[in-house]
Amino acid sequence: MQISDLIYIGHLWEFVAAFLAGINYKKFKGSKEKYFLHFLWFTLVIDLIGDVLGDFYEVENYFIYNLYMLVSFPFFYYWYFSILKKRTHKTYVVILSSVFLIAAFWNLIVQSWEVYHKYTFVTGALFTLTCAIFHFWQLLNSDEILEVKYKLSFWISTGLLLFNMGMIPFMLLSEYFDFSTNAYYFFVIIGLNLILYGCYSLGFLWVKEKYNRS
């Protein structure tokens, strides 16, 4: 077993979160978070396809992840757009999404499809962070703060905030380290995945129907 095989553990967290989302689906199907069920399974399928292509057919599989980013980040933005209530926040989300899409398509055109488009990721992650902070601001200024533990959107935002905060510096520093042979890199990735999907899982476990209606 190679060190890079550890990445499968990350997929295991993903599966746990998607599974918990499935069995608790009826508790949040009335909310704006309901599409996270489909999104998590979609992510899992993409990762598995990436693994199959990369590990079995030994194809350069970065293009899958580059395309995936074009789905995942806009998905988050769309979700935040629908749950944020302040008009200015919504406007910012629209602006950020447009900037992200332009950057992402630009990278698809000018960069090779055989490398990971890390600047697309960094842009997307930064904007997701911003959206998460908007959402926290909204929660802090509403009565919902009393039942925050039962709110799925809180846990998803916490997960996204921590994951992206950790990932951004790693992506930016990846030029200076040779991550492909570095075991620590995998630990960090797995750790951050654990945080992200751990937060999702907590959210799906604790979600209560009456606090998650849209």
């Binding site: 802090l140 009565d143 703060i145 009393l146 925050v148 921590l162 905060m165 950790g166 520093l173 620590y184």
Partner: protein, 254 residues
């Protein structure tokens, strides 16, 4: 991977881990603080609402009493006076009718006294001691218990609105004494000092077992709620066959 690279990697790793931890702590503290503030706010709102509710209840009660007082005084009182005159005209010289007329006269007097004691407007013009004295007189006239009032210290003016509430608390106590206690004696002491007024009311009746009797239900709760409304401290002591005692302290300055 070189030694230096591992080192700088570890530094970056630590910085990231630390900032994640700080973020979690900050988020937690921020949410907790906000939550506590909101809970406090809610508790305060609830208290304000309850106070409002008590005040409204009292207002409604006073309004009802005012109407009854008017009815007693203007309607029934007039009718009784008319009846008395009719009896007098009919029966001058007839001792039985004279006696009836005298009884009617007493009834009219009682009616007027009662009407005065339940009318908030009339009470406003009386001091607490005067109002209590009227109530005591009423009991003495009815002759089923011996009531007395003692005032110590120099009486001080009290906000009429609060005075009525204090008086209503005492009335509640008196009516319980009259209805349930089988007491033969009722004593009230108003003791004024510079900073507070101590009110003690005591009967020598059958008393009740605290916490068990029905008496400690709605009536007592009402008394407590009203006392809270004027920031008075209220205590009720009772034991089976030992009588009942009410102690209330009203502060002149908050």
């Amino acid at each position: 991977m070189g030694q230096g690279e591992v080192q700088s990697f570890l530094i970056v790793f630590s910085v990231i881990a630390l900032s994640l931890a700080v973020t979690v702590v900050v988020l937690f503290v921020l949410f907790q603080k906000r939550k506590n503030r909101l809970l406090k706010q809610r508790a305060m709102d609830k208290e304000a609402f309850e106070k409002e509710l008590s005040e409204t209840q009292i207002e409604i009660r006073e309004e009802t009493l005012r109407n009854i007082s008017w009815e007693l005084h203007d309607n029934i009182g007039q009718l009784m006076t008319l009846a008395k005159i009719q009896v007098q005209m009919e029966g001058s010289g007839n001792p039985q009718l004279d006696e009836a007329s005298e009884t009617m006269g007493k009834a009219i007097q009682e009616l007027r006294a009662l009407s005065k004691l339940i009318n908030p407007e009339a009470l406003k013009s009386l001091s607490l001691a005067e109002a209590v004295q009227l109530e005591m007189d009423r009991f003495n006239r009815m002759q089923f218990l011996k009531a007395s009032l003692e005032v110590k210290g120099d009486s001080k003016p009290i906000d009429p609105k609060e005075e009525i509430i204090l008086f209503r608390i005492l009335q509640e106590f008196f009516s319980n004494t009259a209805k349930h206690s089988k007491a033969s004696e009722l004593r009230v002491l108003l003791s004024y000092t510079d900073s507070y007024l101590a009110i003690t009311a005591k009967d020598n009746g059958v008393g009740f077992e605290q916490k068990r009797d029905a008496y400690s239900g709605i009536g007592l709760k009402n008394m407590r709620n009203r006392a809270k409304l004027v920031n008075a401290h209220l205590e009720l002591f009772s034991e089976k066959n030992e009588g009942t005692q009410l102690k209330m302290t009203y502060n002149f300055v908050d």
